[in-house]
């Protein structure tokens, strides 16, 4: 049987036009199947938050693995081509890609809560917003003991813990790659560091996962790093060489098995209290995700396989392209539109998902793409002016919006009697 792609090629080569690749207007070629995986992951998260898929929160884990894989691939490509990393340019590109849409959500959500007369959501959102802005909201929630599983219904930005984790990874990991990946044997060293880091991260999760409230284990950058690092390891030459040597038929079968396994785990995992979730379950999910990603990426270099074609088909791929905006917008919209008890009203869930989709489309067209593709208003002096205006607008809104007084009028002294 022939191997999947023959001798291992750089990830950049895989991104040349082939059956499994798509070329977005003005952007780098994408592996369609990985875009599709992102689409499946965001659907899982949406259904979980709507109360219809108890294990859908594992979609976030798949996001992490995908991010680790793609970012590390880009970093290693650059290191291989140029012999060094332009870290400032990397962080600039990440900021252009991620911050504009995040800023719009962070600035828009509190006024929406105010307009919807939800002071219970407004006050926490105003308190959390600065932490979102500094990409540390996951640690804020952990420090304030805001239990993700119980109290997220009072926080418009509860879901942004994962964005904080990703950003913290983006700040640190390129430095590690720049140091470990330089020179002969660099990719191998990066792979070793990633695997070692993943093992340490898993050990931390094992330790912290033994708790009634598992928010610390769920939202910690240290405990979730293994997903990003397993994705990173999968992007390195040693792993991709090993995959390239696997017969194509076996790869296609493995892709099918892994994809079915992931989807089954989303359907069968019974919420955050599922047995073994923090004792290896989430790690196994990350491992399976990393394996599926590297296998799909290998298939994308050739004529593409059945699983790759299905996952990379139009609907999942389009959802994947919208996944960032969808993820950012869905939770504030869910809280403002859905009834308090999830799963109780399918009509409202559909409406909330529809609104989230609409917000994501608008976000991509009006904010994400223009900034990423350097529209005239988003570059040079005009870009800085736009950024300054946006920052001033955000700060002014945050300072000016009337804060509700929580707790006012909640105690009727006449009902207390005497001590």
């Amino acid at each position: 049987m022939a191997p999947v792609t023959g001798p291992m090629r750089p990830l950049a080569d895989l991104l040349k036009p082939a059956a499994g690749l798509v070329q977005p207007a003005g952007g780098r070629p994408h592996i369609a199947a990985l875009d599709g995986l992102r689409g499946l992951a965001v659907v899982a998260v949406l259904l979980f938050h709507a109360g219809y898929l108890r294990g859908g929160f594992l979609g976030v884990d798949l996001f992490f693995v995908l991010s680790g894989f793609l970012i590390t691939g880009l970093l290693l490509d650059e290191l291989g081509r140029r012999g060094r990393l332009d870290l400032a340019a990397f962080w600039g590109r990440r900021a252009r890609r991620l911050l504009p849409a995040l800023a719009v959500v962070t600035v828009s959500a509190p006024p929406l809560a105010w307009a919807c007369a939800r002071p219970d959501l407004l006050a926490p959102a105003l308190r959390d917003a600065p932490w979102v802005a500094v990409q540390g909201v996951n640690w804020h929630y952990i420090a304030e003991r805001i239990g993700y599983w119980n109290a997220s219904g009072t926080r418009l930005f509860a879901h942004l813990w994962s964005i904080g984790v990703e950003w913290q990874f983006y700040l640190v990991w390129p430095l590690v790659v720049a140091l470990a990946g330089r020179g002969p044997g660099g990719p191998r060293r990066v792979a070793l560091v990633a695997v070692a880091g993943a093992i340490v991260s898993f050990a931390v999760m094992l330790r912290l996962g033994v708790a009634v409230d598992t928010t610390r284990a769920y939202e910690g950058t240290d405990t979730r790093a293994f997903a990003l690092l397993l994705g990173a390891a999968a992007a390195t030459a040693p792993v991709r060489n090993a995959v390239a040597a696997v017969p194509r038929v076996a790869v296609e079968v493995l892709c099918g098995v892994l994809l079915c396994g992931l989807v089954a785990s989303w359907a069968l995992t019974d919420g955050e209290r599922a047995p073994g979730l923090f004792q290896g379950g989430m790690f196994a999910h990350s491992l399976a995700s990393a394996a599926l990603i590297v296998l799909l990426a290998a298939l994308a270099g050739g004529p593409g396989g059945l699983v790759g074609r299905v996952v990379g088909s139009a609907v999942p791929r389009r959802l994947g392209e919208l996944s960032y905006g969808l993820y950012l917008w869905h939770w504030p919209i869910f809280l403002l539109v859905l009834p308090r008890e999830p799963g109780g009203d399918a009509g409202r869930a559909v409406a909330a998902i529809g609104l989230s989709l609409l917000a994501a489309v608008v976000s991509k067209a009006a904010v994400e793409d223009p900034v990423r593709r350097r529209a005239p208003w988003a570059t040079g002096r005009r870009g800085w002016a736009a950024l300054t205006v946006a920052a001033l607008l955000a700060a002014g809104l945050w300072a000016a919006i009337p804060w509700p007084q929580p707790g006012a009028g909640t105690v009727d002294v006449s009902r207390l009697g005497t001590p």
Binding site: W131, V134, V411, L416
Partner: protein, 258 residues
Amino acid sequence: MQPTNLTSRLAPAILLVAALAGCGASATPSSGASPRAAAANGVRVLWMGDSIAGAQAPALKAALEAGGAAFKDATSDGGGNVVAGDHPVTTMAAKDTWKTLGENVAAFRPTVIAYQITTYDWGTPAQQLSAYRKLARTAGDAGARLVLVSAPPFKLDEFYRPYEKAIRSAPEMAAKAVKSDTRARYLDASELWGDDYAAAKAQRAKDGIHSCQQGSAAFATWFGGRLGELARFTPADPATWATGRWTGDERFVKLGCG
């Protein structure tokens, strides 16, 4: 509407900058009295329990301090239990509780240690009895009076249902543990809450487990009265503390209490 307080709004950013600058600022909120807070009436209450007791703590602090007592909240969300039992979670949490108790006894020097039976006091009746007796000994050694109070009725959801037997036996073992101890007392809170978590009398939040501000104020009034009898002090009139700033505590926001 509360007037805008820019300083409090900037606090997270200031804290982060301070932490990044190595100032050692902690993001964990202070949740009790300063270690040696003065007590006008000489009564110093160390309040222990889980998150249910934690939701009662802001009101209890307001009530007791208004009455001249010093108060320290030593409750722990998702823990606070003294019964270790056989479950890894409760074993680890109990270890933390005993360690923290030792530190609090040394630093705060309580005259009353009050422990509300937690929802995690999972264990056999013998283990429960042993833990509560150990608590009584610890209080006695510290020269403090021990008050054990039963938990309010709460919703036994799928998380708690496997431990229902232990949850039911804990109050009985607590009462038994202090029966012949003149410095310790068991209080049955069902006279305040009743026995049905779903009844209006139980005053549970939407989660069926914790109390909102009104329930916490009711508990503080009731418990303050009982404590006043035991420790010989006059509790403050609820009108002086029940509508204070404590009603805006973050805990109630998390519980969706308004």
